[in-house]
Amino acid sequence: MNLIKAEKLSFRYDDESEYVFRDLDLTFRQGEMAAVLGHNGCGKSTFAKHLNAILLPTGGKVYIDGIDTCDESKIYDIRRQVGMVFQNPDNQIVATIVEEDVAFALENLGVPPKEIRERVDEALQAVGMYKYRMHSPHQLSGGQKQRVAIAGIIAMRPKCIVLDEPTAMLDPIGRKKVMNTIKKLNNQFGITIILITHYMEEAAQCGRVIVMDEGKVLLDDEPKEVFSHIELLKQVGLDVPQVTEFIWELKKKGVNIDTHIIDEEECSSILLKLLS
Protein backbone atom coordinates (compact mmCIF):
# COMPACT_ATOMS: atom_id res chain seq x y z
CA MET A 1 0.00 0.00 0.00
CA ASN A 2 1.24 3.48 -0.79
CA LEU A 3 1.77 5.55 2.32
CA ILE A 4 3.17 8.63 0.62
CA LYS A 5 2.24 9.77 -2.81
CA ALA A 6 3.60 12.87 -4.56
CA GLU A 7 1.81 13.76 -7.79
CA LYS A 8 3.25 16.21 -10.30
CA LEU A 9 4.83 18.03 -7.39
CA SER A 10 6.36 21.44 -8.15
CA PHE A 11 7.83 23.94 -5.75
CA ARG A 12 9.51 27.31 -5.77
CA TYR A 13 10.15 29.58 -2.81
CA ASP A 14 8.55 32.67 -4.38
CA ASP A 15 7.21 33.84 -7.70
CA GLU A 16 10.50 35.15 -9.00
CA SER A 17 12.83 32.32 -8.05
CA GLU A 18 13.39 29.21 -10.15
CA TYR A 19 11.57 25.97 -9.50
CA VAL A 20 13.39 23.68 -7.06
CA PHE A 21 11.63 20.77 -8.72
CA ARG A 22 8.89 20.38 -11.29
CA ASP A 23 6.36 17.62 -11.94
CA LEU A 24 7.95 15.22 -9.51
CA ASP A 25 6.17 11.88 -9.11
CA LEU A 26 7.24 9.65 -6.24
CA THR A 27 5.51 7.09 -4.05
CA PHE A 28 6.63 5.29 -0.91
CA ARG A 29 5.12 2.04 0.32
CA GLN A 30 4.24 1.35 3.94
CA GLY A 31 7.21 -0.33 5.65
CA GLU A 32 9.92 0.33 3.10
CA MET A 33 13.33 1.81 3.77
CA ALA A 34 14.45 4.18 1.04
CA ALA A 35 17.52 6.35 0.67
CA VAL A 36 17.49 9.63 -1.23
CA LEU A 37 20.80 10.70 -2.76
CA GLY A 38 21.82 13.81 -4.60
CA HIS A 39 24.43 16.52 -4.36
CA ASN A 40 23.79 19.76 -2.46
CA GLY A 41 20.95 21.86 -3.81
CA CYS A 42 19.30 19.08 -5.82
CA GLY A 43 16.05 19.61 -3.92
CA LYS A 44 16.06 16.57 -1.66
CA SER A 45 15.69 18.47 1.63
CA THR A 46 13.03 20.69 0.10
CA PHE A 47 11.19 17.58 -1.03
CA ALA A 48 11.45 16.10 2.48
CA LYS A 49 9.80 19.18 3.99
CA HIS A 50 6.77 18.57 1.77
CA LEU A 51 6.14 15.23 3.41
CA ASN A 52 4.85 16.69 6.68
CA ALA A 53 3.43 19.97 5.48
CA ILE A 54 6.30 22.17 6.66
CA LEU A 55 6.33 23.36 3.04
CA LEU A 56 3.27 23.25 0.81
CA PRO A 57 3.48 22.51 -2.92
CA THR A 58 3.38 25.34 -5.47
CA GLY A 59 1.84 22.88 -7.92
CA GLY A 60 0.70 19.26 -7.68
CA LYS A 61 -0.25 17.35 -4.56
CA VAL A 62 1.24 15.30 -1.76
CA TYR A 63 -0.91 12.67 -0.08
CA ILE A 64 0.01 11.08 3.24
CA ASP A 65 -2.06 7.97 3.85
CA GLY A 66 -4.67 9.48 1.57
CA ILE A 67 -4.71 12.91 3.27
CA ASP A 68 -3.84 15.94 1.17
CA THR A 69 -1.08 17.98 2.90
CA CYS A 70 -2.84 21.20 1.86
CA ASP A 71 -5.75 20.34 4.16
CA GLU A 72 -5.02 22.64 7.07
CA SER A 73 -7.49 20.98 9.43
CA LYS A 74 -5.53 17.72 9.18
CA ILE A 75 -2.07 19.24 9.58
CA TYR A 76 -1.37 17.67 12.99
CA ASP A 77 -2.63 14.28 11.80
CA ILE A 78 -0.06 14.49 9.02
CA ARG A 79 2.77 15.61 11.29
CA ARG A 80 1.98 12.80 13.71
CA GLN A 81 2.19 10.27 10.88
CA VAL A 82 5.38 11.58 9.31
CA GLY A 83 8.08 12.54 11.80
CA MET A 84 11.21 14.37 10.79
CA VAL A 85 14.76 14.28 12.12
CA PHE A 86 17.28 16.91 11.06
CA GLN A 87 21.02 17.16 10.66
CA ASN A 88 22.02 19.08 13.76
CA PRO A 89 20.88 17.30 16.93
CA ASP A 90 21.51 20.41 19.04
CA ASN A 91 18.92 22.43 17.16
CA GLN A 92 16.02 20.04 17.59
CA ILE A 93 16.17 19.29 21.30
CA VAL A 94 13.85 21.62 23.20
CA ALA A 95 13.97 20.61 26.85
CA THR A 96 16.77 20.56 29.43
CA ILE A 97 16.20 16.93 30.41
CA VAL A 98 16.23 14.00 27.96
CA GLU A 99 12.89 12.49 28.98
CA GLU A 100 11.21 15.90 28.98
CA ASP A 101 12.33 16.36 25.41
CA VAL A 102 11.00 12.98 24.31
CA ALA A 103 7.69 13.90 25.93
CA PHE A 104 7.49 17.23 24.06
CA ALA A 105 5.52 16.03 21.03
CA LEU A 106 3.10 14.04 23.19
CA GLU A 107 2.50 17.03 25.45
CA ASN A 108 1.72 19.08 22.36
CA LEU A 109 -0.76 16.46 21.19
CA GLY A 110 -2.53 16.54 24.55
CA VAL A 111 -1.88 12.90 25.47
CA PRO A 112 -2.81 12.10 29.13
CA PRO A 113 0.20 12.23 31.52
CA LYS A 114 0.14 8.52 32.36
CA GLU A 115 0.24 7.47 28.75
CA ILE A 116 3.01 10.00 28.01
CA ARG A 117 5.13 8.35 30.70
CA GLU A 118 4.64 4.89 29.12
CA ARG A 119 5.31 6.03 25.58
CA VAL A 120 8.39 8.04 26.58
CA ASP A 121 9.94 5.03 28.33
CA GLU A 122 9.09 2.84 25.35
CA ALA A 123 10.64 5.28 22.87
CA LEU A 124 13.81 5.70 24.95
CA GLN A 125 14.20 1.93 25.20
CA ALA A 126 13.71 1.54 21.44
CA VAL A 127 16.69 3.81 20.74
CA GLY A 128 18.76 2.45 23.63
CA MET A 129 18.86 5.72 25.60
CA TYR A 130 16.70 4.71 28.56
CA LYS A 131 19.46 4.91 31.13
CA TYR A 132 20.25 8.48 30.06
CA ARG A 133 16.66 9.66 30.60
CA MET A 134 17.53 12.05 33.45
CA HIS A 135 20.62 13.51 31.74
CA SER A 136 20.77 16.96 30.33
CA PRO A 137 21.31 17.06 26.53
CA HIS A 138 24.66 18.84 26.68
CA GLN A 139 26.12 15.93 28.64
CA LEU A 140 25.52 13.60 25.67
CA SER A 141 27.58 12.91 22.55
CA GLY A 142 26.31 13.88 19.09
CA GLY A 143 25.17 10.35 18.29
CA GLN A 144 23.34 10.05 21.61
CA LYS A 145 21.62 13.39 21.05
CA GLN A 146 20.52 12.28 17.61
CA ARG A 147 19.04 9.10 19.11
CA VAL A 148 17.18 11.23 21.65
CA ALA A 149 15.81 13.29 18.76
CA ILE A 150 14.70 10.07 17.06
CA ALA A 151 13.05 8.93 20.31
CA GLY A 152 11.17 12.24 20.43
CA ILE A 153 9.73 11.39 17.02
CA ILE A 154 8.90 7.71 17.58
CA ALA A 155 7.06 8.59 20.79
CA MET A 156 4.39 9.99 18.44
CA ARG A 157 4.15 6.48 16.93
CA PRO A 158 4.46 7.71 13.35
CA LYS A 159 4.06 5.52 10.28
CA CYS A 160 7.01 7.14 8.60
CA ILE A 161 10.20 8.91 9.67
CA VAL A 162 12.05 11.21 7.31
CA LEU A 163 15.68 11.70 8.28
CA ASP A 164 17.51 14.59 6.64
CA GLU A 165 21.22 13.71 6.78
CA PRO A 166 20.97 12.53 10.40
CA THR A 167 24.58 11.32 10.53
CA ALA A 168 26.31 14.20 8.76
CA MET A 169 27.62 15.79 11.97
CA LEU A 170 28.48 12.58 13.82
CA ASP A 171 31.66 10.65 14.41
CA PRO A 172 31.93 7.12 12.92
CA ILE A 173 30.74 5.35 16.09
CA GLY A 174 27.76 7.66 16.53
CA ARG A 175 26.94 7.24 12.84
CA LYS A 176 26.92 3.47 13.12
CA LYS A 177 24.71 3.49 16.22
CA VAL A 178 22.22 5.87 14.61
CA MET A 179 22.13 3.71 11.46
CA ASN A 180 21.52 0.58 13.55
CA THR A 181 18.71 2.35 15.38
CA ILE A 182 17.10 3.38 12.10
CA LYS A 183 17.33 -0.14 10.70
CA LYS A 184 15.86 -1.56 13.90
CA LEU A 185 12.87 0.80 13.68
CA ASN A 186 12.27 -0.40 10.15
CA ASN A 187 12.69 -4.12 10.89
CA GLN A 188 11.04 -4.43 14.27
CA PHE A 189 8.37 -1.77 14.21
CA GLY A 190 7.73 -1.63 10.47
CA ILE A 191 8.16 2.14 10.37
CA THR A 192 8.69 3.50 6.86
CA ILE A 193 12.10 5.17 6.64
CA ILE A 194 13.12 7.84 4.16
CA LEU A 195 16.81 8.52 4.65
CA ILE A 196 18.42 11.49 2.97
CA THR A 197 22.15 10.97 3.04
CA HIS A 198 25.55 11.72 1.59
CA TYR A 199 27.05 8.39 2.59
CA MET A 200 26.84 5.72 -0.08
CA GLU A 201 27.51 2.99 2.47
CA GLU A 202 24.35 4.05 4.32
CA ALA A 203 22.32 4.12 1.11
CA ALA A 204 23.56 0.62 0.29
CA GLN A 205 21.88 -0.65 3.48
CA CYS A 206 18.44 0.50 2.32
CA GLY A 207 16.01 -1.50 0.21
CA ARG A 208 15.58 1.25 -2.33
CA VAL A 209 17.75 4.12 -3.54
CA ILE A 210 16.46 7.24 -5.23
CA VAL A 211 18.95 9.52 -6.95
CA MET A 212 17.87 13.10 -7.49
CA ASP A 213 19.52 15.66 -9.71
CA GLU A 214 18.35 19.19 -10.45
CA GLY A 215 14.87 18.50 -9.18
CA LYS A 216 14.35 15.29 -11.11
CA VAL A 217 14.44 11.63 -10.17
CA LEU A 218 17.41 10.24 -12.05
CA LEU A 219 17.41 6.67 -10.76
CA ASP A 220 14.96 4.82 -8.55
CA ASP A 221 15.74 1.16 -7.94
CA GLU A 222 17.36 -1.40 -5.66
CA PRO A 223 20.80 -0.30 -4.46
CA LYS A 224 22.59 -2.93 -6.56
CA GLU A 225 21.01 -1.64 -9.74
CA VAL A 226 21.49 2.00 -8.87
CA PHE A 227 25.15 1.65 -8.00
CA SER A 228 25.87 -0.26 -11.20
CA HIS A 229 25.38 3.06 -13.04
CA ILE A 230 28.74 4.23 -11.84
CA GLU A 231 29.47 6.63 -14.70
CA LEU A 232 26.09 8.32 -14.49
CA LEU A 233 26.46 8.77 -10.73
CA LYS A 234 29.92 10.29 -11.14
CA GLN A 235 28.53 12.69 -13.72
CA VAL A 236 26.06 14.13 -11.20
CA GLY A 237 28.77 14.44 -8.56
CA LEU A 238 28.00 11.34 -6.51
CA ASP A 239 30.10 8.41 -5.42
CA VAL A 240 29.39 4.72 -5.17
CA PRO A 241 30.32 2.43 -2.23
CA GLN A 242 34.03 1.66 -2.16
CA VAL A 243 33.58 -2.04 -2.98
CA THR A 244 31.46 -1.26 -6.04
CA GLU A 245 34.08 1.12 -7.33
CA PHE A 246 36.80 -1.45 -6.69
CA ILE A 247 34.95 -4.19 -8.62
CA TRP A 248 34.22 -1.73 -11.39
CA GLU A 249 37.93 -0.87 -11.75
CA LEU A 250 38.71 -4.60 -11.95
CA LYS A 251 36.13 -5.02 -14.71
CA LYS A 252 37.67 -2.11 -16.62
CA LYS A 253 41.00 -3.92 -16.43
CA GLY A 254 39.39 -6.87 -18.18
CA VAL A 255 38.48 -9.14 -15.26
CA ASN A 256 35.24 -11.03 -15.93
CA ILE A 257 33.16 -10.05 -12.91
CA ASP A 258 29.60 -9.10 -12.00
CA THR A 259 29.48 -5.40 -11.03
CA HIS A 260 26.25 -5.66 -9.02
CA ILE A 261 28.06 -5.72 -5.72
CA ILE A 262 27.61 -3.31 -2.81
CA ASP A 263 28.50 -5.46 0.14
CA GLU A 264 32.02 -6.03 1.49
CA GLU A 265 31.51 -9.69 2.36
CA GLU A 266 29.97 -10.44 -0.99
CA CYS A 267 32.93 -8.76 -2.63
CA SER A 268 35.49 -10.77 -0.68
CA SER A 269 33.76 -14.09 -1.42
CA ILE A 270 33.68 -13.31 -5.15
CA LEU A 271 37.34 -12.34 -5.10
CA LEU A 272 38.19 -15.58 -3.32
CA LYS A 273 36.32 -17.54 -5.98
CA LEU A 274 38.15 -15.66 -8.73
CA LEU A 275 41.54 -16.28 -7.19
CA SER A 276 41.10 -19.99 -6.54
Partner: protein, 267 residues
Amino acid sequence: MFRDITLGQYFPGNSIVHRLDPRFKIIMTVIFIVTLFIGQSAVSLELGGVFCVMAIVLSRIPWKLILKSLKPIVLILVITSLLNLFFIKDGLPVFEWRFIKITETGINTSVFMVVRIALLIAGTSLLTYTTSPIMLTDAIESLLSPLKAVRFPVHDLAMMMTIALRFVPTLIEETDKIMSAQKARGVDLDGGKIMDRIRSVVPIIIPLFVSAVRRAGELATAMECRCYRGGVGRTKMRSLKFGPADIIALLISIYFLAAVIFVNAKL
Protein backbone atom coordinates in the same frame (compact mmCIF):
# COMPACT_ATOMS: atom_id res chain seq x y z
CA MET B 1 37.02 30.78 30.25
CA PHE B 2 33.25 30.26 30.43
CA ARG B 3 33.43 26.68 31.65
CA ASP B 4 32.82 27.49 35.29
CA ILE B 5 29.57 29.38 34.82
CA THR B 6 26.75 27.33 36.25
CA LEU B 7 23.30 28.59 35.65
CA GLY B 8 20.95 29.20 38.52
CA GLN B 9 23.59 27.90 40.96
CA TYR B 10 21.56 24.76 41.67
CA PHE B 11 23.14 22.51 44.31
CA PRO B 12 21.71 19.01 43.79
CA GLY B 13 20.59 17.18 46.90
CA ASN B 14 17.82 15.18 48.44
CA SER B 15 17.08 17.08 51.65
CA ILE B 16 13.58 17.93 52.80
CA VAL B 17 14.01 21.47 51.47
CA HIS B 18 15.02 20.12 48.06
CA ARG B 19 11.95 17.90 47.94
CA LEU B 20 9.43 20.62 48.75
CA ASP B 21 7.07 21.66 45.98
CA PRO B 22 8.83 24.50 44.10
CA ARG B 23 5.63 26.55 44.06
CA PHE B 24 5.50 26.45 47.86
CA LYS B 25 9.17 27.35 48.04
CA ILE B 26 8.58 30.45 45.92
CA ILE B 27 5.61 31.49 48.07
CA MET B 28 7.61 30.87 51.25
CA THR B 29 10.45 32.97 49.91
CA VAL B 30 8.04 35.83 49.25
CA ILE B 31 6.61 35.49 52.78
CA PHE B 32 10.16 35.50 54.14
CA ILE B 33 10.99 38.71 52.27
CA VAL B 34 7.82 40.36 53.58
CA THR B 35 8.66 39.19 57.11
CA LEU B 36 12.09 40.83 56.89
CA PHE B 37 10.77 44.09 55.55
CA ILE B 38 7.90 44.70 57.92
CA GLY B 39 10.06 43.82 60.93
CA GLN B 40 10.82 46.98 62.93
CA SER B 41 12.76 45.73 65.89
CA ALA B 42 15.72 43.53 66.69
CA VAL B 43 13.33 40.83 67.94
CA SER B 44 11.56 40.54 64.58
CA LEU B 45 14.90 40.34 62.82
CA GLU B 46 15.93 37.56 65.16
CA LEU B 47 12.76 35.70 64.20
CA GLY B 48 13.65 36.03 60.52
CA GLY B 49 17.17 34.86 61.31
CA VAL B 50 15.91 31.78 63.15
CA PHE B 51 13.69 30.86 60.21
CA CYS B 52 16.51 31.36 57.71
CA VAL B 53 19.08 29.38 59.72
CA MET B 54 16.54 26.59 60.25
CA ALA B 55 15.95 26.32 56.51
CA ILE B 56 19.67 26.32 55.73
CA VAL B 57 20.37 23.59 58.27
CA LEU B 58 17.51 21.45 56.95
CA SER B 59 18.66 21.92 53.34
CA ARG B 60 22.16 20.61 54.20
CA ILE B 61 23.65 23.26 51.94
CA PRO B 62 27.25 23.89 53.07
CA TRP B 63 27.66 27.22 54.92
CA LYS B 64 30.50 28.02 52.58
CA LEU B 65 28.05 28.22 49.69
CA ILE B 66 25.75 30.53 51.63
CA LEU B 67 28.68 32.82 52.40
CA LYS B 68 29.66 32.70 48.74
CA SER B 69 26.23 34.01 47.80
CA LEU B 70 26.84 36.99 50.09
CA LYS B 71 30.16 37.85 48.47
CA PRO B 72 28.82 39.98 45.60
CA ILE B 73 26.89 42.21 48.01
CA VAL B 74 29.72 42.89 50.48
CA LEU B 75 30.25 46.32 48.95
CA ILE B 76 26.55 47.17 49.25
CA LEU B 77 26.60 46.04 52.88
CA VAL B 78 29.61 48.23 53.67
CA ILE B 79 28.13 51.32 51.98
CA THR B 80 24.75 50.83 53.68
CA SER B 81 26.30 50.50 57.11
CA LEU B 82 28.56 53.55 56.63
CA LEU B 83 25.71 55.73 55.37
CA ASN B 84 23.52 54.78 58.30
CA LEU B 85 26.39 55.22 60.71
CA PHE B 86 27.28 58.77 59.65
CA PHE B 87 24.00 60.26 58.57
CA ILE B 88 21.71 59.37 61.43
CA LYS B 89 22.09 62.26 63.82
CA ASP B 90 19.42 61.68 66.46
CA GLY B 91 19.83 59.61 69.58
CA LEU B 92 22.61 59.55 72.16
CA PRO B 93 25.96 60.62 70.72
CA VAL B 94 28.66 58.00 71.22
CA PHE B 95 31.46 59.69 69.37
CA GLU B 96 31.85 63.28 68.23
CA TRP B 97 34.69 64.93 66.30
CA ARG B 98 34.15 68.13 64.32
CA PHE B 99 31.26 67.42 61.93
CA ILE B 100 31.31 63.65 62.46
CA LYS B 101 28.75 62.48 64.95
CA ILE B 102 28.00 58.84 65.59
CA THR B 103 24.95 58.07 67.67
CA GLU B 104 23.58 54.98 69.34
CA THR B 105 20.60 54.94 66.98
CA GLY B 106 23.01 55.16 64.06
CA ILE B 107 24.91 52.08 65.20
CA ASN B 108 21.69 50.19 65.85
CA THR B 109 20.22 51.06 62.47
CA SER B 110 23.36 50.22 60.54
CA VAL B 111 23.66 46.79 62.17
CA PHE B 112 19.94 46.24 61.62
CA MET B 113 20.16 47.08 57.90
CA VAL B 114 23.23 44.93 57.29
CA VAL B 115 21.69 41.88 58.97
CA ARG B 116 18.42 42.43 57.12
CA ILE B 117 20.06 42.55 53.68
CA ALA B 118 22.35 39.60 54.45
CA LEU B 119 19.36 37.50 55.55
CA LEU B 120 17.44 38.56 52.47
CA ILE B 121 20.18 37.37 50.12
CA ALA B 122 20.93 34.19 52.05
CA GLY B 123 17.25 33.24 52.16
CA THR B 124 16.52 33.90 48.50
CA SER B 125 19.67 32.16 47.28
CA LEU B 126 18.55 29.13 49.25
CA LEU B 127 15.63 28.95 46.82
CA THR B 128 17.90 28.72 43.77
CA TYR B 129 20.35 26.43 45.58
CA THR B 130 17.67 23.86 46.31
CA THR B 131 15.50 24.12 43.18
CA SER B 132 16.59 23.13 39.68
CA PRO B 133 15.96 25.71 36.92
CA ILE B 134 13.43 23.44 35.22
CA MET B 135 11.46 23.08 38.46
CA LEU B 136 11.53 26.84 38.92
CA THR B 137 10.18 27.33 35.41
CA ASP B 138 7.40 24.81 36.03
CA ALA B 139 6.54 26.51 39.31
CA ILE B 140 6.46 29.98 37.75
CA GLU B 141 4.19 28.72 34.97
CA SER B 142 1.89 27.14 37.53
CA LEU B 143 1.82 30.16 39.84
CA LEU B 144 1.19 32.60 37.01
CA SER B 145 -1.52 30.47 35.40
CA PRO B 146 -4.40 32.54 36.88
CA LEU B 147 -3.08 35.39 34.70
CA LYS B 148 -4.16 33.41 31.63
CA ALA B 149 -7.62 34.82 32.33
CA VAL B 150 -6.35 38.28 31.39
CA ARG B 151 -4.61 36.86 28.28
CA PHE B 152 -1.12 37.04 29.74
CA PRO B 153 1.01 34.60 27.70
CA VAL B 154 2.06 32.41 30.64
CA HIS B 155 2.84 29.28 28.62
CA ASP B 156 4.89 31.20 26.05
CA LEU B 157 6.90 32.82 28.80
CA ALA B 158 7.67 29.46 30.41
CA MET B 159 8.57 27.97 27.03
CA MET B 160 10.98 30.82 26.35
CA MET B 161 12.61 30.32 29.73
CA THR B 162 13.01 26.58 29.09
CA ILE B 163 14.55 27.12 25.67
CA ALA B 164 16.87 29.82 27.00
CA LEU B 165 18.04 27.45 29.74
CA ARG B 166 18.47 24.65 27.22
CA PHE B 167 20.67 26.76 24.93
CA VAL B 168 22.93 28.38 27.52
CA PRO B 169 25.50 25.53 27.50
CA THR B 170 25.27 25.21 23.71
CA LEU B 171 25.94 28.90 23.16
CA ILE B 172 28.75 28.96 25.73
CA GLU B 173 30.42 26.12 23.85
CA GLU B 174 29.91 27.99 20.61
CA THR B 175 31.44 31.18 22.04
CA ASP B 176 34.49 29.17 23.06
CA LYS B 177 34.80 27.79 19.54
CA ILE B 178 34.43 31.20 17.90
CA MET B 179 37.04 32.67 20.23
CA SER B 180 39.49 29.93 19.32
CA ALA B 181 38.71 30.40 15.63
CA GLN B 182 39.28 34.16 15.84
CA LYS B 183 42.49 33.71 17.83
CA ALA B 184 43.71 31.31 15.14
CA ARG B 185 43.12 34.13 12.66
CA GLY B 186 45.24 36.50 14.70
CA VAL B 187 42.67 38.46 16.68
CA ASP B 188 44.13 39.69 19.95
CA LEU B 189 41.43 39.13 22.57
CA ASP B 190 43.37 39.56 25.79
CA GLY B 191 45.82 42.41 25.46
CA GLY B 192 45.58 46.07 24.54
CA LYS B 193 43.87 49.12 25.95
CA ILE B 194 40.30 49.10 27.16
CA MET B 195 38.94 50.41 23.83
CA ASP B 196 40.84 47.72 21.89
CA ARG B 197 39.39 45.10 24.17
CA ILE B 198 35.87 46.33 23.67
CA ARG B 199 36.41 46.39 19.93
CA SER B 200 37.76 42.85 19.96
CA VAL B 201 34.39 41.60 21.25
CA VAL B 202 32.78 42.46 17.91
CA PRO B 203 34.29 39.53 15.94
CA ILE B 204 32.91 37.19 18.61
CA ILE B 205 29.45 38.66 19.05
CA ILE B 206 28.55 38.88 15.36
CA PRO B 207 29.19 35.22 14.42
CA LEU B 208 27.49 34.20 17.67
CA PHE B 209 24.38 36.17 16.77
CA VAL B 210 24.28 34.83 13.22
CA SER B 211 24.53 31.30 14.49
CA ALA B 212 21.95 31.85 17.24
CA VAL B 213 19.44 33.16 14.71
CA ARG B 214 20.07 30.18 12.43
CA ARG B 215 19.64 27.80 15.35
CA ALA B 216 16.39 29.48 16.29
CA GLY B 217 15.05 28.94 12.78
CA GLU B 218 15.96 25.27 12.78
CA LEU B 219 14.56 24.77 16.26
CA ALA B 220 11.28 26.36 15.22
CA THR B 221 10.97 23.94 12.30
CA ALA B 222 11.80 20.98 14.54
CA MET B 223 9.16 22.14 17.04
CA GLU B 224 6.57 22.43 14.29
CA CYS B 225 7.44 18.91 13.15
CA ARG B 226 6.58 17.78 16.64
CA CYS B 227 3.14 19.37 16.45
CA TYR B 228 3.90 22.40 18.64
CA ARG B 229 1.05 24.90 18.58
CA GLY B 230 1.40 26.94 21.77
CA GLY B 231 -0.13 26.19 25.12
CA VAL B 232 -3.67 25.38 24.00
CA GLY B 233 -4.67 21.77 24.65
CA ARG B 234 -1.25 20.90 25.98
CA THR B 235 -0.71 18.32 28.70
CA LYS B 236 2.34 17.77 30.91
CA MET B 237 4.14 14.53 31.65
CA ARG B 238 5.29 15.60 35.09
CA SER B 239 2.79 17.59 37.09
CA LEU B 240 3.62 19.32 40.34
CA LYS B 241 2.02 17.80 43.42
CA PHE B 242 2.07 19.06 46.97
CA GLY B 243 1.82 17.00 50.12
CA PRO B 244 1.48 17.48 53.90
CA ALA B 245 5.15 18.47 54.21
CA ASP B 246 4.60 21.43 51.88
CA ILE B 247 1.62 22.64 53.87
CA ILE B 248 3.45 22.30 57.18
CA ALA B 249 6.42 24.24 55.79
CA LEU B 250 4.10 26.96 54.53
CA LEU B 251 2.34 27.14 57.92
CA ILE B 252 5.70 27.54 59.66
CA SER B 253 6.63 30.49 57.45
CA ILE B 254 3.20 32.04 58.01
CA TYR B 255 3.68 31.53 61.75
CA PHE B 256 6.91 33.54 61.62
CA LEU B 257 5.19 36.29 59.64
CA ALA B 258 2.38 36.40 62.21
CA ALA B 259 4.91 36.53 65.04
CA VAL B 260 6.63 39.55 63.48
CA ILE B 261 3.29 41.32 62.98
CA PHE B 262 2.50 40.62 66.65
CA VAL B 263 5.84 42.01 67.81
CA ASN B 264 5.28 45.13 65.70
CA ALA B 265 1.86 45.70 67.20
CA LYS B 266 3.32 45.55 70.70
CA LEU B 267 5.80 48.35 70.00
